[in-house]
Symmetry: C2
Subunit: 183 residues, 2 copies
DNA sequence: GTCTATAGCTGGATAGAC
DNA sequence: GTCTATCCAGCTATAGAC
């Protein structure tokens, strides 16, 4: 059996372009993701962007799908963690992840092809998120009526950039799972 | 005393440009806010954008300040409402308002001048928001520890676009204030 | 697969007439 | 204040050589 890994880490030109696009998008926003700049960062010619993705929208959609698949995998891993809420918190709290999400939402606001792609994914993601959190909270013996799970998803997911709230949320987590264990 | 109103509704060219920019930003995203398109919507020449605002960044900052001032005024009005939570909810839940906020945050991600402007404002806004909600909740005799006010601000403010949660939140509001009264 | 070259367009910004 | 005219930069996308 060859030591070949999955496609994700292949050092192909296609992946190099996607990596460059991802970095640009988080650092400077989607408006900075142009064929020339992406190609420059990836160290290839700009015509290759169109060779692999046809259009810039094609590149954005491929980029979104790659990130969405990874997020989904990461979400599933949370369930098997000994401190699932901490893991979940760190997942949604991740800076580059939320920056990425925000850029794609802004992008979707004025690109129809991307809008459809994102709507479908986020619907599935939020459903799974809620299932997962409900399971976890029930495991802690919490019977909080019907809105806490949704509320917690909302609180954790959306506005974690507001630093004042971080301490508050982490205090709640510590009450349930004890202080964050070193990894 | 002349019937002259405040500056806000003046049918000046400057205001027409700001109005056109605001509409474009909400409908098609900040990337659609170009000097030519703004001028076209406002029915004036594109050179006037630079005459009044020097640069496109200048236009964005003026636009943000106008919106921020209005939001602040509207937030204060909530306090004197007979159903402050409902009013607050409708305020943050307002579609064009949250679309506007998202666009500016995305814009701030890659425009330094705008970033500074927004950071300052949103700090002040969130503080006032929390003061207000704490007061209101205390008025309902709720003693919810230290995180509910923050949590409610977060839930209501950020993710109100997730339509699944709207019903849940509105149920909570109805329990406190009764069903929404007709205006 | 990867490159060069280029067509065709749109945008920010300015100069200067009225 | 408002307009016309224009410069220059940067972008998407394609054709075609290697």
């Amino acid at each position: 059996m060859p030591a070949r890994r999955g496609k994700a880490d292949d050092p192909t030109t296609k992946n190099a372009i996607l990596d460059a696009a991802a970095a640009l998008m988080v650092d400077e926003g989607y408006a900075a993701v142009t064929s020339r700049r992406v190609a420059g960062e990836a160290g290839v010619n700009s015509a290759l962007v169109y060779y692999y993705f046809d259009t810039m929208d094609g590149l954005f959609i491929a980029l979104f799908r790659r990130g969405a698949d990874r997020s989904f995998d990461r979400l599933e891993e949370v369930l098997s963690s000994p401190q699932p809420l901490w893991d979940f918190w760190e997942f949604v709290h991740d800076r580059s992840n939320s920056a990425r999400t925000m850029e794609f939402m802004a992008l979707a606001n004025h690109r129809k092809a991307i809008q459809a792609e994102i709507a479908e994914y986020s619907r599935k993601f939020r459903i799974r998120e809620l299932e997962l959190l409900s399971t976890v909270l029930a495991g802690y013996g919490l019977d909080l009526g019907q809105w806490p799970a949704a509320s917690i998803v909302l609180s954790l997911s959306g506005i974690s950039r507001f630093s004042e709230t971080i301490a508050v949320i982490e205090r709640e987590l510590a009450a349930l799972e004890g202080p964050r264990a070193p990894r």
